[in-house]
Amino acid sequence: MIIKNLTVRFGDFTAVDDVTLEVPDGQVVGLVGESGSGKSSLARAVCGLVPYTGSIEGARRVQMVFQDPYASLNPRMRVGDTVAEGIRARDRDSEVKRLLELVRLPAEVAGRYPRELSGGQRQRVAIARALGGDPGLLVADEITSSLDVSVQGAVLNLVRGLRDELGLPMVFISHNLAVVRYVADVVAVMHQGRLVEAGPTEQVVGEPAHDYTRALLAAVPRLRG
């Protein structure tokens, strides 16, 4: 998939300013930047949720996973029904089972309601629902930032697993460079609506070319000692 000259405006405010970015087949593109830098607006444009100018080519069936797993599941629907929403296949039940297995959830959660699940489990349900729509591209917007570190690892492992098992291309958004570095093949850095740097992960993290990238790297909290 390739995004060409994408611009998103809200009134006179330009949230995304002429961004061109390629998501290679089967790769995870990590999108970093501070809040307000335009990451989410870009994601929503790719998903067709906000109007934009420019072109998005080769992105058929985009699905998105949202930041807050408490707000992104219908509290009145059982997990199984939620996951089944996008499924086109005839045998829904076995498809739901397969998807739950894919996100490493036991089949019995299909009968439960979201309130009976932990944050990490809910986020997996949201991922399973997105996969049910048979996406050609998955957009994950800050999907671990409302989770505890103790469960973040499991969700990040899942994201990596999906790329390896399904070859599913992804746009993975986060403001934490350490998290992005772990899952992404390519890192793109946004600042004030513009793309200031993009390249292979090790290169961007190891030899950042832009001052803003260096500032982001310096801001990653780390233990002393």
Partner: protein, 601 residues
Amino acid sequence: MPVRWSGPAVAGAVIVALMAALAVAGPIVWGDAAERIDAGAILQGASAEHPLGTDNLGRDLLARVLVAGRFSLALALAATLIGAVAGILLGTLPSVLPRRAARLATGTVNALVAFPGLLLAMFTAVVAGLGARGAVLGIGAAIAPGFARLTQTLAATVAGADYVSAARMLGVPRRRILSRHVLPNIAEPLILNLTQALGGALLGLAGMSFLGLGVQPPSFDWGRLLFDGFSRIYVTPEVALGPAAAVALAGIGFNLLGDALARAAARTTVRKAEEPPAPPAEPDEPDPGAVLDVRDLTVTFPGGSNPVRGLSLTVAPGEVVGLVGESGSGKSLTAAAIGGLVPYPGKVTYGRLHLGGRDVATLSDKELGTALAMVFQDPLAALNPALKVGGQLAEVAVVHEGASRAEARRRAVDRLGQVHLPEPERRAAQHPHELSGGMRQRAVIAMGLMGTPRLIIADEPTTALDVTVQRQILRLLREVVAETGAATLFISHDIAVVGQLCDRVVVMYAGRVVEELPADRLAEGAAHPYTRALIASLPGLDTDRTRPLAGIPGTQPAPDQVGPGCAFAPRCSLATERCTTERPELDAHGPRQRVACWEVS
């Protein structure tokens, strides 16, 4: 939905049940009596035979009131249903129609809501023709706009939810989104509103009949009986009072029940209260050097929920102590307990809770307000959106220290400068929404500095901010502590942030402290399996990308599910038999470190 059976709720339920019984049985039991014409007893007042008197054909009025119940209630029900169905349809139209038509529907509802209900009812009734049908349609029309507005507002909230966006992206059709996502999530408040509307409809219909617009003879409902009796009110008041009392009673009954249901829906489950925990043992000597000295702090909620369990903690002047743990471990409640902010019906007990050497219970609000500064995750919640930033800061000095307005303003600008808010003078004259998230958090910190705080409690002050702004705020906090010598309790679920900022770290799990150690020993010297697992789950800039990230399997037990042993045992790889039955105490583990674990010693 559990209903608390308070007096009014019981009264409401009883009245409604009686009304229902009356509607069923009334005409069967008293039907004949109500129609029996007695030429010898025309227009009588109350007597032993006719407790409410008789009408112009000598029919017994008490029997007629009892019989009219069915018709009155049926009409009210019909009017409410008509109003609700019309209102809900009108209210949901905007979410299914194309944009232009949706706007028209919204406009119509807005116009109807602005129109006085009584006029709408009378207008409809007159157009539809005198009689019961007209009255029902009229009251239905008066009820509909309210329902439409409610439906619209509720539906708009749900339509903005992420799960609706997700369904759209999956190509779920609009009608299905409405039936599966929107309606089920707004049904409860709508049903509650229905009960209350029923009471209103009953009164409204009685009013219509009373005005002569409603039920026409020979049919009769309560309103009609009231209308007939009213002309005799000066001579024999009981003939009017009977039907009036019936209408009033039914109306009150429905409203009381509706209220009780609404309140039950707004409340989360409260389970049966249990024995309060035993008072903690005699505390040891207070720590004279500490600004904050907490011993055996416990927070209890009814139903055996015990989110903070015998927590002890000290913070010295100029020291930054980090309180870290997973969501729900009790960090915020600990902060709330120190600031006296635990919400009802929570109960706080402690062996000692000293701030600056004095028991917080003996401090006045004013003393506590100046000695303690609290900074929360959401800076908007701490700032009044309607007031200018500078004014709000100044208020603190005026209220707590009796400073003059001018002096307070000067200090506000000074403090805003101290937290490095650019152009403090201009910012002081702005409203909170004109500031970015990071600036707002600076303003809140500045607000805490208006007094001379001896203790600063910061509960996740940077969680809503991104890493770059977070770093600036953390620097600022350190600077403030260095300048003021205030003791600081910094709460976060992010152990990396805590490790970077703090001098000492206190790790909490399921309401207890499980480890306490100097922050610079976190990376190498953490001893408790939980602390170690937390650190291992952190992805860093040098994490091996070819290996899976570590995590902690399972979840923390809820505050009412903590067993007798070590609370971490079900998730711990080192757990033994003993861990599940006996709880390890927090014991010294080398200098300046304490650990609660059987396997570490």
